[in-house]
Subunit: 154 residues, 2 copies
DNA sequence: TATTGTTATACTCTATAACTATA
DNA sequence: TATAGTTATAGAGTATAACAATA
């Protein structure tokens, strides 16, 4: 039995620490359930964004989920090899590549999305629906401001 | 210029994903500012917990910040080598080790804690004070339930 | 037999530099 | 010269199995 009388006042007053804890607490459950679909977190996120935004570029994908371009390339390579996505050069700007789900990718995503929603709700079952919505709203506010600080980052 | 018209509705409805995004957004700022103290996230967390809870065991430390015992051993080794913490066997139960900050560890922690609080507040400056408090309350609720599911995990 | 902690190891994730090609 | 994407590589974080010592 754990005596959880630890004083964590300072650490739990940091959003960075608290968010990391929540993330690391949910991660194992996500990994375990998603193993059935053979999808990792970043892979699932890519499928989700492509389902909702067919034809976007790798850059926008990478920016949205905070993955560096080299690491995104590796994620996409694996999804391409599995036949879950396809890509084409954009005619108007040949530097860009347009990404799309294949029919197999769409089918897998539908199943995986149901799994993801289930497990996420289980992992947050201690919150009321209103609390959960509020938590998501506040995290979104933090994340949107991160993505676009005030012009240029550096 | 980014056209942030991406539809991320589904992903941002997952607490796991949103928490991970927030964490990964704040991490680089944390790392950059803490480099001045030569402290990584887990190391800072250990110092903070030892400052508030002198004499706790490695197990309780590891549980509190979601680090596995083998990885905690590595973190502590580095802090010991730097003379920031010390440890002793507990007389009553010789399996346990009691951890304490050294005077140098306390001094470094004081400075690092001020840095951490500053950067975390900068990173969440888009929230009102009330929103920030509410976000921390909700994350705490999620994290407390994670830590102690309902008896034993497995 | 269970718990605390260690060692060794592998795997994943993240970060950076250097490069190609397009613009 | 700047941007999209790639390759290669290093480093940090995470996970697991096997072990020692104590209870």
């Amino acid at each position: 039995m754990e005596q959880d009388s630890l004083d964590q006042t300072f650490l739990l007053g940091l959003v960075g620490h608290s968010a990391r804890l929540a993330s690391s607490g949910i991660r194992p459950l996500f990994a375990q359930r998603m193993a059935g679909h053979d999808l990792r977190q970043a892979e699932f996120a890519v499928l989700s964004l492509l389902d909702a935004n067919p034809g976007i570029s790798q850059k926008r994908l990478a920016d949205a989920i905070n993955v560096s371009p080299p690491n995104m390339a590796a994620v996409l390579t694996r999804l391409l090899e599995r036949g879950l996505i396809r890509r084409e050069r954009q005619p108007s700007d040949q530097r860009m590549q347009i990404l799309l789900l294949t029919p197999a990718g769409t089918r897998l995503y539908r199943k995986a999305a149901a799994t993801a929603l289930d497990l996420d709700q289980e992992a947050t079952a201690m919150l009321t629906p209103a609390e959960r919505r509020e938590l998501l709203r506040l995290l979104k506010k933090v994340n949107e401001a991160q993505a676009a600080p005030q012009g240029q980052g550096t």
